[in-house]
Subunit: 493 residues, 2 copies
């Protein structure tokens, strides 16, 4: 059996699997200069299938994770990419073919892998307490060597993780060094169980509690402030019966409300209070903070499901207009009664929503030094900018949002080009909020290669500070993070 | 100082430096099946500059060698590429910039590298006596690990190499396992001195002799038969005074004759006899054999210089028509007097020339099991096929030549596509001559990637046996060779 990917648009041309484990020393800088004080690494994960799927309609979220790194030092940057050796990856490599079937549907797997962890570690590369973790929300973390990107193995905090799953979006409390994290479907696929942990700055699990969501759904990201932790339950639902009949893991339920589960930081599951809102879509959190009473959560909000590959359970076709997300602020008055019974039943909004920009987009990021704290600046990838019809693919722009003035500065990717998730990197450790660089991968479709742009975060529309020219295209990528060299020096054994 | 290549066509798009050290497991096979009995490795070297040159008009032959391998086993093939760590490569990597100047002109170098070996090991990957050698004709071999492609270091046969240079085109005598090889400019750049060695099957130097060519020139390849060894001296001349004034290393002298220096196998320099012919160009040898008296050498012959970057010393412009080479047979009657004084002076041809095909091309190869022996089949890359105007780039066709019937079977590369040097691989160890596969890299310019075609050597125009689809483009490549797994198992420590 040879490796042969189907000849379909989503797996052809720029979107074809790359499958290259690469080292490129001293990447070409085709324009500008890399700020010489940047001393650290941009870790980023991409989705790159090792072997063709044997199921119809396979989705990028089901592709193997490839860890990548851009290591900056003294005005130079080196690139590296290595597949994450998940148990699944290793089993398929040994078989020289796919053994795992559809996204998060174990009923579609080859019998030889029944019971194996199905994670592909393709969603985030996250550093805490001296360890670099490749994350996928359906499975435990995989620890990666931060220098070589080689896989060290599954990492369960010395067995302290009691849930079966672990979010791809932990949050750091910069005041304490604590990592706040959770797992959903934590007792197995389609279970409504959520486990919430906190790890101290040394990576010890210092808090754990369990609770159940109003219904099982994708809890892809969450909000953490100094005093609260918020779990958004949006109507991208999961259901074991659907899995058994081979249907997609998640289905959009247009009849279900949104629930925001609020706990005090290090609270217990019994303390969760559900704030209810009408049917809508949200996924990634830009930032969140509270003043003791009012809790603000900034996230792109769409009228309906963003993901074309998860069906509408009503049978309605995918609607790209209603799927457009506008960065919005959800505000909860934690002093108000959230409704009877803990699950609001009055049908009204138990939280308010304010739109922060007229552009639509996703992949919001902030100056991560302000995670959990009041903040004023963010950046995201945009798929619609009013009165700007310049062509391109996918996310055709970036937008930097001044949250106080509610002003968005945009930058076009260029013809035949698309952005992926941007990243903020401070100019210096003591730089003011948002003073520094936005790094963003751009896919250059016509040239079949990618660039890494380094932009002035405060002048997103100015010529790039530097354009790092990659000689190859990078596959579809999800999340990444910056690690200062001083932090890498603290790597754990 | 950042790495930034000049924005010129020869370094842009498909021809841009790639600089990627890659591992790709189980390459996609987009069509057909890889013959399962193929158990071995196609080693091939490509030219891929690490850092931009600081001289004007830099040429591909001056780019760093990147060793590549296609490892075949049980119908699967894995790809690997690693730069050859020449002393020059290591010095430039440490400096993060080019230190060596123009092709084979040490007068253009940074003073910090004066006296260092200038080789870039970018011309061939050759196996003998359990060792894989990366070769460049201006410097000693560099030994490479055949599994990892990591550089072991300069290899001088335990100091037995007395010349400063070593050809990129050794020949194997299949009856004895001896490797026949040489160096030109062996006493230093532009010297007319040639050293001729033979190594036994265990890699010991068992023969060495020295002689001088009629004039210093590029002796890029040579011919070896059972009884003779032939050194073609063509008028691509070198001259120290030109180097000192920064001119290109080689210049085409339209007024000079060709000389073929013939020695008995393991003969001494005093025995060399020079056979003279009129001005013309030739470079690579497809094959050669003798019957004791008549010596036949098959090589593409052009009216004038093939290389556009080496100037005509008369000032004449490059003429692509006169540069077209047609595979031709030179025949020497070794029993005839080659002319008075050992260097024929009568101005007439001391050897005959017969054209073997109407197509023009270069990179001729044979079934290497017949090296030094009578043979009947060869293959080469073609840049002109009569009555075939299908478009493409560079070598738009391959041609398989039946030398007995003087018939050429051609294969078109496809639109926006070009071939590089083909390679013959026997179907089985005991297969008849030419029974097996032609492997050929094809550059797909519009797709910015390459294919490895596996063709039936006897039916070159039939659909490929298999098309191995590379997800990346491969840089400009020179020579390569097939190594059966049984030979790799004999690797030296």
């Amino acid at each position: 059996m040879v490796t042969r990917f189907p000849d379909i648009p989503q797996l052809s041309g720029f979107n074809a699997p790359l499958r290259v484990e690469a080292d490129i020393y001293d990447l070409e800088v085709s324009q500008g200069e890399i700020p010489p004080q940047l001393d650290g690494t941009y870790y980023r994960i991409v989705c790159d299938r090792q072997f063709p799927s044997f199921v119809q309609g396979d989705i990028p979220f089901n592709a193997d994770g490839m860890a990548t790194s851009f290591r900056f030092k003294a005005g130079h940057v080196d690139y590296k990419s290595r597949y994450v050796r998940t148990p699944r990856f290793n089993a398929e490599r040994a078989a020289r073919r796919a053994l795992f079937g559809a996204y998060r549907n174990p009923f579609t797997d080859d019998p030889s892998v029944t019971g194996m962890v199905r994670g592909v570690a393709n969603t985030n590369l996250y550093w805490h307490a001296g360890k670099l973790l490749a994350l996928k929300e359906d499975s435990p973390p995989i620890r990666i060597d931060p220098d070589t990107l080689e896989t060290i193995g599954e990492y369960t905090y010395d067995g302290a993780l009691t849930g079966q799953t672990f979010t791809a979006h932990p949050k750091l409390d910069p005041r304490t060094g604590e990592m706040v994290c959770f797992g959903f479907a934590a007792k197995g696929e389609t279970t409504p169980d959520i486990v919430y942990y906190e790890m101290d700055r040394d990576g010890r699990v210092i808090h754990e509690t369990w609770f159940q969501a109003p219904y099982p759904s994708m809890v892809h990201d969450f909000a953490v402030t100094q005093n609260f932790v918020v779990f958004p339950v949006i109507p991208l639902t999961s259901d074991m019966e659907r899995l058994k009949t081979g249907q997609p893991h998640f289905g959009w339920d247009p009849d279900k409300d949104v629930f925001l589960g609020v706990l005090p930081r290090k609270g217990t599951g019994r303390q969760v209070r559900w704030y209810r809102g009408s049917n809508r879509f949200a996924s990634h959190i830009m930032g969140a903070y509270d003043d003791g009473r009012y809790l603000h959560i900034d996230t792109p909000v769409a009228q309906s499901n963003y993901f074309p590959w998860f069906p509408d359970l009503s049978g309605a076709p995918y609607d790209p207009e209603r799927a457009k997300g506008h960065l919005s602020r959800w505000t909860i008055d934690t002093a108000a009664d959230p409704g009877a019974g803990g699950h609001g039943t009055d049908g009204g909004d138990d939280f308010t929503e304010t739109r922060l920009t007229d552009c639509s987009g996703e992949f919001p990021r902030m100056d991560d030094r302000y995670e959990t704290l009041p903040y004023h600046w963010g950046v995201l990838a945009l798929n619609h900018v009013p009165d700007d019809e310049r062509p391109g693919m996918g996310f055709r722009w970036l937008g930097a949002v001044d949250l106080d003035r509610r002003r968005t500065t945009t930058r076009w990717a260029g013809p035949d080009s698309c952005f992926y998730e941007p990243l903020f990197v401070p100019a210096r450790p003591d730089a003011a909020e948002g003073e520094g660089y936005v790094m963003a991968i751009v896919g250059r479709y016509a040239e079949m290669r990618s660039d890494l742009l380094i932009l002035d975060a405060q002048r997103l529309d100015a010529p790039p500070v530097a354009t790092v020219k990659l000689p190859i295209r990078l596959p579809y990528g999800l999340h990444g993070n910056w690690l200062d060299a001083s932090e890498l020096a603290q790597r754990a054994d």
